[in-house]
Symmetry: C2
Subunit: 163 residues, 2 copies
DNA sequence: TTGTGTGCAAAATCTTTGCACTTCG
DNA sequence: CGAAGTGCAAAGATTTTGCACACAA
C-alpha cells in the first residue's frame, strides 16, 4: 500500500515539487476513507495547510490523477469524484446511523471479478466497494429499515416530493 | 429488463402523471445504455420531445431515482451520474476510456457480504460497487499499457492532453 | 535565482429554485 | 376544471482559467 512518503517521493522523482499544499492534499486523501470530492479534501487538507485554497485542491487532484495515484470516477462525463488507488484493497463498511466505519479486506471479490470479466469482456482494473448498513449497536436501537430502493408500486400516491 | 411501458405504468400507479417529457426521458434512458448524465439525457430526450428543457430532465431524473428506476451513481458526494436499474441489485462496470457502462448482476456478492456481515456484526443494507476497466473495444485500441496505475517518472513536464 | 506552484478573482459549467403558464387526468 | 408538471430566468454550486506573487529546488 502506498504511504504518504512513497507518494511524495515518486512525485518528486517525476519532477513535481513537493509543497505544503501538496503534502496536505496527499495526507488528506490517505486519511479520508473512500471516495472524496474536492470540497471534502479541501476541508481536510486545511487542517495541515490552513491557507490552502480550493483551486489548489483541484489542481493537485488533477496532478495526482495524472500521476496515477488517484482515479477520477467517471472522468468522462463531468463526475467529480476521486478515489485513492490502493494496493491491497481496503473497503469500507459504514454504519448509516452512527457513521462508524470498519475496514475490511476484500480479496474474496477476485473470483467474482473474474467471472464478470469473462462475461463482459472488460478488463477490470479497479473496483470501488462500499457497504452501508447498521452496526450491531445501532441495530438494537433502530426500528426496521424504513426505506428501500425497490421500484415497488407505491400505494400512497402522495408525493413525498420535491424538496 | 424493464420496458418503457412498464415503467410508465408503475409511475402512473404511483400517482405520477405521464407526460410527454417524462415519456421522452424514460425512452432516452432506456436507449442510452449505461451511464448518463443530465446533459446526455437531455440531448436524447429532445429527439422525442423537442421542446423539453434541461430543468425538466433534472426533475425527472430525480423522480425516477426516488421511484427506484434509476441509480444515482455516487449519490453521496455530489456526483451527478445516473444509470438505469434494470432489475434487482446490480452494479456498474465502466470503461475508463470510452465511458461505456454495463450493468451486471451482483448475486455472487452475497456470500461475500454474508461473510463480512458475520465478521463485523453489521447488518448490511446497501452496497455500492463500481468496477472500472477497459471494455473489449478499448482494449484493442489502446496501446499496450501506455500508462497504468504505475506512476512512471515523467521526463517532460509538459502535459499531454489526455484525459 | 528560476520557474513551478499558489492564491485570488472572475469566468465558465452544472444544478436547483421561484413563478406563471400548460396539460394530464 | 384543478392540481401536477413544465419552461424560463435567475440564483446557487461547482470547477476552470488568468495573472501576479511566493517558495521549493
Amino acid at each position: 500500500m502506498l504511504s504518504e512518503e512513497r507518494i511524495l517521493r515518486q512525485l518528486s522523482q517525476a519532477g513535481y515539487r513537493i509543497t505544503q499544499p501538496r503534502r496536505a492534499v496527499v495526507r488528506a486523501l490517505l486519511e479520508d476513507d473512500g471516495y472524496s470530492n474536492a470540497a471534502k479534501v479541501h476541508e481536510r487538507a486545511r487542517l495541515y495547510c490552513p491557507g490552502v485554497g480550493l483551486v489548489t485542491i483541484y489542481r493537485t487532484l488533477d496532478l495526482l490523477s495524472e500521476a496515477g495515484f488517484l482515479r477520477r470516477i467517471h472522468s468522462q462525463d463531468g463526475c467529480h469524484g476521486y478515489a485513492p488507488i490502493q494496493r491491497g484493497h481496503r473497503h469500507h463498511l459504514i454504519c448509516r446511523r452512527c457513521g462508524a466505519a470498519v475496514e475490511f479486506k476484500g480479496c474474496d471479490l477476485v473470483p467474482f471479478l473474474d467471472r464478470v470479466s469473462d462475461e463482459t469482456g472488460y478488463r477490470i482494473e479497479e473496483h470501488l466497494l462500499e457497504l452501508i448498513g447498521l452496526c450491531s449497536t445501532c441495530q438494537e436501537l433502530s426500528t426496521p429499515c424504513p426505506h428501500s430502493q425497490e421500484p415497488s408500486p407505491r400505494s400512497t400516491p402522495g408525493h413525498d416530493d420535491e424538496k
